[in-house]
């Protein structure tokens, strides 16, 4: 069964399953003071150290959360509130229009309910934010900016952002920059210290770890306002009993993701290049979205627009043949919306609707690509027929 949707979620690594199941049977709250508590705490802290090492961060910079969405919300809303509390003028937020909904909807909420003023950073035709655009957006009033947020790599089209340069530009004005690195971790080199970022989101289930656990890597100078109030377990910015089994598995997956990254990127990149070539061969007018230069995109990502097709028709037809992929864009009650990412990149609504994302992962094989290559031509042809307007509506 060709599974080509690893960017949605990738199978858990056996090592992570083992680490998690080993902990699930054990008793102990990491906040308890007795032996069982200390044992659980040790698992959490060792995991924190492992994950910090994998991300080029200090252990104290790793704040465990319930996943990517929570980390993004904590960073964006939390930093907005804390920075504005320190200086009431700071109400502007610089944000790219290609962000994941966890960032996008958080800033839109701030605009609607907290008086935030959003400054949309322009992206080019491949979805990339340029440092100069960030400088221009800052303008003459850097003092009124609460934060900037630009994802490390895009979840739909796989475009990798120049994070280091964006950090430099933001820091010229003393503006903190957050990056959602959920898709980047394990595919491109992600080093928190080297990047200079102030906050960075990662999550477990995109790297072979479990669902429901993530982290916000947070510079020690920052204290975002908590989203969840309670025991204050994580640096007083995140409350909730620590999920030692999930954290242990997340750390194992994170360690392996960093360890295997170079080899994985090399191998999966070659497989992806083959996939792209064969899809274009089968459907000559297919348009590859995102950066065509391999260095500029995630090695496991391929994203196409198929002119004259509806994305949901393509998905249904491929699904019927056991090929699992995604339209790449967010769903509302199961209805695929035209991708805001493609629209921001200048695509028209038709191109945005007729697109599919194929994302590879650690279980992908040459057979998966062969199956897609064999299916995609006839599937596109049929989807085009289904999109033709019919005569008996009059």
């Amino acid at each position: 069964m060709p599974y080509l949707d690893h960017a949605a979620t990738t199978p858990m690594l056996p090592e992570a399953v083992q680490a998690m199941t080993a902990q699930l049977g054990r008793t102990g709250n990491a906040s308890s003071l007795h032996a069982a508590g200390r044992r659980a705490r040790r698992v959490v802290e060792e995991s924190r150290e492992t994950l910090a090492a994998a991300l080029g961060a200090r252990p104290s910079e790793v704040v465990f959360t319930g996943g990517g969405t929570e980390s993004d919300n904590l960073a964006v809303k939390g930093l907005f509130w804390s920075r504005r509390a320190a200086d009431a003028r700071r109400t502007r937020v610089l944000v790219s229009p290609v962000e994941h909904h966890a960032v996008l909807d958080a800033v839109l909420w701030l605009e609607e309910h907290e008086g935030a003023r959003l400054e949309w950073l322009p992206v080019d035709a491949v979805g990339r934010v340029h440092p100069e655009a960030l400088r221009q957006a800052v303008g003459d009033t850097p003092q009124d900016i609460a934060l900037a947020t630009v994802m490390w790599a895009n979840n739909e089209v796989g475009t990798v952002q120049p994070v280091r340069e964006l950090v430099e530009a933001a820091h010229e004005f003393g503006i903190p920059l957050h990056a959602d690195a959920v898709q980047a971790f394990g595919q491109v080199p992600v080093d928190f210290a080297e990047s200079g970022l102030d906050a960075m989101t990662v999550t477990g289930h995109k790297i072979g770890g479990p669902f429901g656990v993530g982290a916000l890597v947070l510079g020690r100078d920052h204290k975002p306002v908590p989203q969840l109030h309670g025991g204050g377990q994580e640096r007083d910015v995140r409350s909730g009993t620590l999920d030692a089994p999930a954290i242990a598995a997340f750390a194992v997956a994170g360690e392996l993701a960093a360890e295997r990254r170079e080899e994985f990127a090399h191998e999966i990149g070659a497989l992806r290049d083959d996939l792209v070539q064969r899809v274009v061969k089968a459907v000559p007018d297919a348009v590859l979205n995102g950066d065509p230069v391999p260095e500029g995109r995630l090695p496991a990502n391929a994203h196409f627009s198929f002119p004259g097709c509806e994305g949901d028709s393509l998905l249904l037809l491929l699904d019927a043949q056991g090929i699992e992929c995604s339209t790449g864009s967010a769903c509302s009650a199961g209805v695929a919306q035209p991708s805001h990412v493609l629209l921001a990149m200048g695509a028209d609504a038709e191109r945005a609707r007729g697109s599919l994302r194929f994302s590879l992962g650690h279980t992908s094989t040459q057979d998966d690509v062969e199956a897609l290559a064999a299916a995609i031509g006839p599937v596109v042809e049929r989807a085009r027929r289904a999109a033709q307007p019919k005569c008996h509506t009059g």
């Binding site: 949901d312 028709s313 019927a320 049929r382 289904a386 008996h392």
Partner: protein, 385 residues
Amino acid sequence: MTDFPGAPTDPTAPREGRPLRVLAAMSGGVDSAVAAARAAEAGHEVTGVHLALSANPQSFRTGARGCCTIEDSRDARRAADVIGVPFYVWDLAERFRQDVIDDFVAEYAAGRTPNPCLRCNEKIKFAALLDKAVGLGFDAVCTGHYAKIVETADGGRELHRAADWAKDQSYVLGVLDARQLAHAMFPLGDTETTKDEIRAEAERRGLAVARKPDSHDICFIADGDTQGFLAKHLGTAEGDIVDTEGTKVGTHSGAYGFTVGQRKGLRIGHPAADGKPRYVLDISPVDNTVTVGPAEALDVVALTAVKPRWCGQVPEGPAEYTAQLRAHGGEVPVTAELADGELRVRLARPARGIAPGQAVVLYDGTRVVGSATIATTERAAVSAV
């Protein structure tokens, strides 16, 4: 006139014995869930689809009102899980708005009384949905309608009333032409099944929607307030209510708010001379006037109807049928004739509550012959447009 594209000889038409690729439209209600389950059980290769018909769906259903909420979508998905078929949500909100909601408003604005369910079957379920399904390689669209498809000896297909006449929905399917019918599958109408039995069957099949209330009213008017909906879309404009002599007897806030045959809500200050209740006889949007009169004046003896659609052969010359003139209405023996593309129907006995905009569906016994949209009516006492 006999050239029907995709007529019953269409090789993709559902035939017994061969498993078909069936697209089951699943509203989230019990009927469509059982229909999909029966199609799957019969050995067909079923795929469930829920139609998202509102751009901004409500989260939850309110009693029997409305449909297409996120909750309905979830119920449909859970039914598909239990049946064990793939499930998708298709966004047809834009088409639905154009072809059903806008049409509904425009019809009322023109003084007619539309049937949006019928329009939805004609333009959405058995047009937009069917076209896409056929384009994608499906053989048939399956719905939970109570109507029967009978295959004739010569390979043709006929639409008949459901076994349970109380639940029969052939009236709202009367707009389907031969091609649409060739790709339709109604598993609930094919057997002698009452609604209670369908619910019991859903229970047996483990479908959680077994006890979900039936939906009534118009799905896109969630609060059931049609007058409020029309006022919002058409605004209010005060006009006169007059009697058959043309004497002003009251005022109204918009002629579109009335339906021929309506008695309630006229708010006429003083009683009629004969003391009998008065009914809406005519609605004239041009001068925003509503004409009222006694019940007898509602008696329609003949009508003309436009945009005829035939389920099979187009009838030649005047022929005797029975006609259903509104949803849930009874049957009237008629003589019908097609002339200049217009259907002329003479009723064997007068009928009331017949409004322009509604469909006349002709039956030959239980068989649906065709349908058309009522344009004008001829009254026993007065002639009306």
